[in-house]
Symmetry: C2
Subunit: 351 residues, 2 copies
């Protein structure tokens, strides 16, 4: 999580800042220009990386900018963080909104929630967002190249929350440690004594690939074979999880444990197990991923990898606000640690 | 649901409006004053119900206001609907936000989500809301008298969503038909042949009282006794539902069916039944209330009364926006119809 520096004003359109380098209390472009013996437009050109300045002048101005700690004042922006969902369906949405709202409250900004879904006309688009001039944008799961370009052109910083596609380097994002989560789930099953561990995973989203890699890594680490026969790729729904589990569990050498890429698939495994007369965890151990509120009330309560959605949302909001303030942010891509929540769906294999 | 009149501008600070009564295309206070042969402050006094105007003048001005269809222009407001939660924990929150966001999108306004919880300082309060000058406020579950007064004083219309306490007459609210929902649940059990039907209900919130009344009404309608012994009042949690069910189901003349005031209590009944070796629905029928997403995946899937949260949220948003526009709203208190969702937790009693 980016640190929440107390010496940087969290709100307000701070036009001028204290210096740390011996200049006046507030450094303006005019002051830099005067010190460098150049015009204000010349300093502006250097600040904005535009041409038409000699190398010698550019480096002198840059040196002064650095020495006086000058920063471009933020543009005229509303006091809003905009949180964009593609579709407000997910059961995670409340956790995400909670985290964003809490971080926003701490920073004295408000949270605007938008849904870009196309179910009914008129759909909201990035144009509306740009028009509202939010202080920053958090976009859940995705932000297209065009959308990113539009925001960038208007100087509106953004963070992609839990990206569901690969992003180019340098695009700010906050996700979870999916690889480590997959490792932890599989190690837990191995430690219980399981040797034939099935995997039900989802489409090639970055988070599914990482969870699958965590599974493979734990098997390899334990000297167990990675058997393609034990790995099924399907959709991230209960129905598809159930169908995949029916297939895996009907085999003569069925796995004694299954790790799934999300909780909905795990609930599908429960159903398939019941249909086949297998008891969880006596006959079959199951580990999910996400830790949706509902899985604690499943029968039996599900062992699963906890995704710290609210913490991720706090981190994403702090990161986006820091980018908006022009803070030096050490790293714009973050994965927040998952943790294994052991409940009652896992036990040593029989016999 | 308030009708969404197409002849009233949904957005924009329409300062002046078309008339329907033969005056100029735009009616201003000045025009009314001129027509009535009085000063602008006099018209303003009449509009605002203040004293200092003779009865004769008042009725002449009122007649002209009516004839020309003059309406007070809305005050300078942001393009925001503010949705206030006391605590963003509930699994319903996404459904509510979805409904509000969809209605807001249709009306070309944005949705700001605030949490007034006191978990961490600084908490948001109604003062912050007033400062943001939203077009209207929707408050989930509650809005205190002081809060209502503050909003009223600033001319910010509000609607209480699914109130959890009694509100004075005239306070705008949108809820669900809780009484009818309780009736439908109980009638369903009676139609299946149940005669001893237990009730687990919650604290004396208006919605719990109404659900309980629906249960009693259906029993009376069917000529069945309303037995206080079969009615347990407890908290609206799974744990409390489980404890209440343990009590009800351990009796020698245990009920063959249980209706609970919410889904969490119903999941608690599932647990108690399992502990006591009773199968749902073979040995015990269960009906919940709310239709949370998770209960469709319970084992067995729960029969429950569906609360149309997204529809309620749309209605509440439309109502609040209509109040903000100064539309003639026929009724400011609305209950949106519930419906019974029959799944697999109900069956005829054995024997």
């Amino acid at each position: 999580m980016p640190d929440n520096r107390s010496d940087v004003p969290a709100t307000g359109e701070a036009e001028e800042r204290k210096t740390s380098g011996g200049g006046p209390a507030t450094v303006t472009i005019a002051y830099i220009a005067e010190s460098a013996g150049v015009s204000v437009p010349t300093v502006s050109k250097v600040l904005n990386g535009r041409s038409g300045v000699s190398d010698e002048t550019r480096s002198r101005v840059e040196e002064l900018i650095l020495r006086y700690g000058y920063r471009k004042p933020p543009k005229n922006r509303s006091n809003l963080v905009e949180l964009v969902f593609r579709e407000l369906e997910s059961m995670w949405a409340v956790e995400i909104i909670r985290g964003v709202e809490r971080a926003a409250r701490r920073n004295k900004v408000s949270v605007l929630v938008s849904e870009f879904g196309l179910q009914d006309a008129p759909a909201r688009t990035i144009d509306d967002t740009v028009e509202r001039r939010p202080r920053c944008v958090l976009s859940v799961a995705w932000l297209s190249e065009e959308e990113r370009d539009q925001l960038q052109a208007k100087g509106i910083p953004f963070v992609v929350f839990d990206p569901n596609r690969e992003l180019p380097d340098g695009v700010p994002f906050v996700g979870a440690t999916n690889f480590r989560g997959g490792q932890a789930a599989t190690r837990h099953l191995i430690e219980l004594g399981h040797r034939r561990i099935g995997l039900i995973t989802g489409p090639d989203h970055p988070f599914c690939l990482a969870r699958t890699a965590g599974y493979c890594s734990a098997l390899i680490e334990a000297g167990l074979p990675v058997e393609p026969d034990l790995m099924v790729k399907t959709l991230l729904t209960r129905e598809d999880g159930c169908a995949a589990a029916r297939d895996l569990l009907s085999r003569p050498d069925r796995p004694t444990a299954v790790f799934t890429a999300n909780d909905m698939q795990a609930l599908g495994v429960y159903r398939a197990a019941r249909e086949l007369g297998l008891r969880v965890p006596d006959d079959l151990s199951v580990v999910g991923f996400d830790d949706l509120p509902a899985v604690a009330w499943a029968d039996p309560p599900l062992t699963t990898v906890h995704q710290p959605l609210a913490d991720m949302a706090v981190a994403a909001t702090e990161l986006a606000l820091a980018l908006g303030r022009g803070d030096d942010v050490p790293q714009v891509g973050l994965e927040i640690a998952t943790s294994l929540t052991v409940r009652e769906s896992t036990a040593p294999p029989k016999g």
